[in-house]
Structure formats: structure tokens, C-alpha cells
Symmetry: C2
Subunit: 421 residues, 2 copies
Amino acid sequence: MNSLEPVFGSLKKAQAQLAREHRQKKDKALKAAMTAIDAARGAILRANEADLAKARSRGMKEALVDRLFLDEQRIDGILEGLATVIRLEDPIGRVKAGWTLPNGLFVEQVTVPLGVAAIIYESRPNVTVDAFSLAYKAGCAILLRGSSAALESNRALVKAIKQGLEQDGIPDAVSLADSGTREEVDEILNARGYIDVVLPRGGRDLIRRVVDHARVPVIETGAGNCHIFVEKSADLKNAMDIIENAKLQKPGACNSVETLLVDRAIVFSLMRQLAPRVAGKMELRCDIDSHMASAENGVPPGLVLKGAWSEDWETEFLDTILAVKTVESLDEAIDHINYYGTGHSEAILTRNLPAAEEFCRRVDAACVYVNASTRFTDGGEFGFGAELGISTQKFHARGPMGLEALTTIQYRITGQGQIRP
Amino acid sequence: MNSLEPVFGSLKKAQAQLAREHRQKKDKALKAAMTAIDAARGAILRANEADLAKARSRGMKEALVDRLFLDEQRIDGILEGLATVIRLEDPIGRVKAGWTLPNGLFVEQVTVPLGVAAIIYESRPNVTVDAFSLAYKAGCAILLRGSSAALESNRALVKAIKQGLEQDGIPDAVSLADSGTREEVDEILNARGYIDVVLPRGGRDLIRRVVDHARVPVIETGAGNCHIFVEKSADLKNAMDIIENAKLQKPGACNSVETLLVDRAIVFSLMRQLAPRVAGKMELRCDIDSHMASAENGVPPGLVLKGAWSEDWETEFLDTILAVKTVESLDEAIDHINYYGTGHSEAILTRNLPAAEEFCRRVDAACVYVNASTRFTDGGEFGFGAELGISTQKFHARGPMGLEALTTIQYRITGQGQIRP
């Protein structure tokens, strides 16, 4: 039984040291890591080949093998990601608020690093470098727990990072948990006093397991059962562009639309145009009214048109499948979204101002859209430079997370001998 | 077995309704609750007498009985607290940030209620009203789980509040969990999807139990093993005023000092003056150097002077006891604080600017003080109007918590048909 306890201890110590470094030193360390990864391309690619060979010999699907796969171009992408993080402003040492009390005490709220982060993730090796660089920039040490499928790739990447940090930085601020056991994950999830936040990044099962078992704080990410509601005053041409984009631009993304809600007043005019337009591109799973509307002039050639089961309302298809439901009112649309949604990204298409306002006020989700595609929920799109994931919880962080999610605040109070009367 | 499930459901429904109300309506409801409590003074005091009689018959200590105790004056205090909350700005609907993306999407970060809160607390009945009013103002429904000792008082208070809200408000936004069983607490701690945050307010055991068992988010409050470090350049007269204030002004408060750290260079000059000054007011538990210094001219009359055990460094005395330790350097003081401290309030007394800066940067606590008493860590003192408690965790909220701790943010994105290319 290898315990992670010594690793936790050295991460905590390294974090205390890292917390004191200012941006220039942190950026210099990130540059050193960049140079070292660049220099280790050969070793990284050889390690990746070993992972790929093992994965294929165990019969891993090619789509998943592709996630694991690294080549020169993907390493270029990883290095570009690092360069982006270097360019980001330091999230630490920002004064968020400050004021003077009647007794003369000067109070400031200053951002400080959250502490030691752990990330539990699936097979993409680029996450290893992304997570390290974001954490380091935010003054946080990080424990990386990747999937066993990517073990050799991750070992080679972390080795290179540590070599870079040996030159110029704090090598103990990053560590790879590589035993591959479940016990290791449990140890991370129970490491109160050592780990300040756990970020699960991956499929629904991984996230659920982490949330259910963690005794340390978790930021839930990922699950997106997103909706578009076409209100009766919507511009239908506009609506069809947005629906197509939100479903097809990247069907496997968490911010893709899964269920289309349509006001009864326009269900015929919308679906009779949408059905032929999406034929051959997506499958529609319709309630009775939207089904009739879609098939009004016969089922358009090439369209996969099915009846919707109630299960479809709660399914994140992550595929070219769109559930369609007719609703009687804005109220019903909002209730449906708040019941079946996962609090990720929800859109209303409308030209009616009160409807737009009410939708925004009442829908309980990280991101609410008026007349735009849900696909914009993304740290890069929002202008954060890099993202740690998209939080679907309300606690600590919500929506696309930039570096700020890895910070907390400290009150600094300066006096001249004040005592409390 | 009474399950809380129907209560969770009605709280959640009421919260969705409350989230839509603007400040005028919320304040009107709080005023109605105030009027109803005022009108129910007789019933509340009778209920409180029943609690007191039961407590005394069970042999509760008078100090604890006093916490339970209500009279006209204490009810006045409760009503004043409500009036303060009514005067507070609405924490909801504030735009924390907003910007326009290159594609014209207008992004705003708007504060929204966190959702349904639960508070698990000990015997003070005023917490019942404070917690309700803060939650209501923040658009949150609240489940109150007080101690069984205060059961009748809490029932009478919540009955009055609900009567007020029947007139003018949403009565289901508040509920009292009054079965008094452990199962009830466990049900609250496991109510994922219903309870958005649990606030334990009380002693160390209560907080530990909640933190260990909760599967819903918790804000840890309370434990304060606070330090004052007297650096060698400190003004000693000033230092003694601050030490005395931080220990004696309210010894049972979480922000009171528990351990004094003194630089070896000044331990004799400080302790030889401090010892006679605090004689008869506090007990000193000293390491060998501070002990010798305190007794240099013989133990001052009336001074309780003891040797410190290592356990004293980790004890939150909450009493007129001060542990004293001599340190060799600023470094040793910071290391001691980061090892033994609970991340609450830590002070340095110094005239040396680099020492003050280094102390603030390296001490890992919610509040760090330069030349002031730790006793100022308090929502009221900080100017928040009212406080939910003092968070000693780094996640979501840190330090004195005002209404903002019961909020989260929502991104609102307004477009004119934008799709993601």
C-alpha cells in the first residue's frame, strides 16, 4: 500500500513557497517547463506510443484512442496553451475591495491562492499540462491523477515539467498520482487539511463518484442538459441558425443543445421549415405536436424522425440527436428547464423583452442566453484566456472557470494600535 | 420516521418564488415578520419559560441557561437585528462584471440567491430570527435546525414569523426542523439537490460532525486559535494594550487571542511589564524564557503563572488563559501560526514595514492584522451590518460573512442571433 501522505506534505510545503512568488518568477518557471517539454518531445512521443499500443491491445475504441494520441502538432498545441497561461494576468494579489473603518482601521480584501488542488481526469494528456500551468499561475500546487490509459504519457510530461522547474521554479508544486488504484482516488477525496479543492474532469460517472465520496471541497463540472426555447415572437430564420449551430457545431460538447422547446403558437411554422433543413444532419425525437408539424408534408427525405420518450427530456445525448417538445407558455418552458436542466446553459429566442427578462430571472442555470447559441459557454469564448472547466454548481465558482476559481480572499487589516472598546 | 422530504420540496418551491421578488417586497415581508414577533411577545416568553424550566430541571449550567433566556429586552434586540437587515442593500441583482465580446455578445455576471440554506445551531433563540432574516433578504429559503433545548422558543418564534409572512410574504420560505433526532440532521446533511449550503453554528464538536458527514456544501465557522506576534520593533505599551484587549474584552469569542508569540530580543522587556499588569485578570502559560521573564522580580502578586505544555499551543481556551511562547524570528512565528492556527485571525505588532508585509503574505488565515486587536474580526465591525458567522474555510466564503455568502452568480448573455463559428 503506497500512501500519498508524503506527497500531500510536500505539495503543501511547495504551495506555501509558491504562494510567495510574484508573477515574474511564476512566468519564468512556466517558460522553463515549456522549454523542457519542447526538449523532451522524443521521450514524450515514445511514452505516448507505449500507451497507444497498450490501449489498442486491450481493444480500446478508436475514438478514445484518439483522445490519448499525441503527435508533434498536438505537442505544439500544448505548448501554445502554456504560452497563453503565461500571458494571463496574475490572479493573486488583487485588491477586490478596500475601505477604512470609523476607528481608522484600513481593511483590504486581497486575492490569495486557494492552496493545493487535485484534478482527477480521463485520458487526454493535454489536461496534464493545462491543469499544471493554471494551478502554478494561481500559486497553487497540484496533484494530477490521470487515467491509467495515459500513464506513460503523463509520466513523461510531468518528468519534463519537473525538469524545467528544477532549473527555474518549485518542482514539488506538481505531482502525478500514478498507482492507478481506486484506493489512491479515495485517499485524495479524503485528504482534508491537505487538498483544498478537487476538480473531477470527465464523464458523468467519474463526476458522480467524486461528488459522492469526497470529504474535501469539489467543483462539479461538465454535465450539460441544455435547452433552447423558441418563444412565439422569435425570428424563425434566426432561430433555425441558432438551433443548428447549438446542436451540430460540436455535438459532443457539454454546451450543445439537447432539447428544443417550442411555443405551440409557432410549432407548425418552425418545425415545417426546420425538419427538411436538418434532414440527414440530425435525428429529431418529437412529442406529438412537433412530430405532426415535422411530418406535415410527409417526412422529409433523409430525416430520422422519432417519437420522444419521457427519458429523452433527461438525456444528455452528446450526439446529433435533438429532443423536441411543444410547450403552452413561457411558464411551462421555464418549469421544464428548471426540472430537467443541469444548470449549465439555457437559451431563449425571442423578440419580446418581458419574456427575455422573465426567462433570465427565473431560469436557474450558470449561463442564460437571449438570442444566441448555447455553444458560447466557454472560458476561451468569454475572454478568460484559459479555462479549468465549466462549473455546474453554485458554490465557490459557477459557469466557465478561469484562474479566479483557484483563488480565495484574505482580509488584511492595518491599524495603529486600535483595540475594541 | 418523519422524513423531511416534503419540507425540502416546499422550501425549494418557495425559494424559486422568493428569488423573483425585489427588495421592496422582501423588506415588506421582513417588516411583517417584525410586527408579528412584536405582537407575539407573550406567547414567545411563555414558550421560553417552558424551555428554561425544562433546562433547569435537567441540570443545565446557568451560563448555558442564560444563552437560552429571553426577556422583553432581548426581544427588543431581536427586533433591532431585523430592522438592521431591512436597512441592508439587496445583495441580489448586482452586476459584478460585464463586458462585450468581439462578436457583439453582451456578457454580464449578475448576483442571484444561492438557493436553500440550512442552519444547524445551538441554543440562542436570536439565531433563529437572524438566520431567517438574512436568508430571506438574500432570496434564500431556510431550514432552521436549532437545539432541542430551545425547541418551544423556536417554535413560537417561527410561528410568529410565518404569521407575519402569511400577511405579506412567502411563509414556506422558512421551516423549523423540530423532531430533535440525529436522523433529522443526517437527512439535512445528505439532501443533495435540495439544500445548497449548510451552516453549522456552535461548538467545535457540532462543526466537526457536520463537516465529516455532510454531502451538501458546508461553510465551516467558528474555531479560532488566534495568535499575536510581538515583533522586536513593536511599541511595547501599544502591544500590552492590544494583548489585554484581544484576550480580555470577550475571552469566549472566537476572535480572542489564545497564544502570544514574542521575539526573544524583547521577551524580557515585554513580559516583565505585562506580568504584573495582567495579574489577577488572566492566567499565563509560559515557555521557559517567557516564564523566567515574567517571574524575573518574583511572581507578581495575584498572577497565575504556569509552565506551558505543548497541548497549550493547540488549545482554543475561550477563557482568561493566555499561552506565551518565545520565538527566535519572524519565520518561526509564521511557521508556528501556520501549523497551530485555525486560519481565523492573526496579528503582528511591529514598526518594521518588511516584517509586516512578510507576515501578511505568508500567514494563511482569513484575517491578518498589523498593529490592531484580533477582536475586530466581526461582520458588524467590518461594516457588513449583520453577519452569518465567520468562515474559517477558503472555499466560497472566507472571514466575516455578510449577505454575499448567500449569493452566487449567473452569467446573462444577450445576443442578436450569434452562432459559434
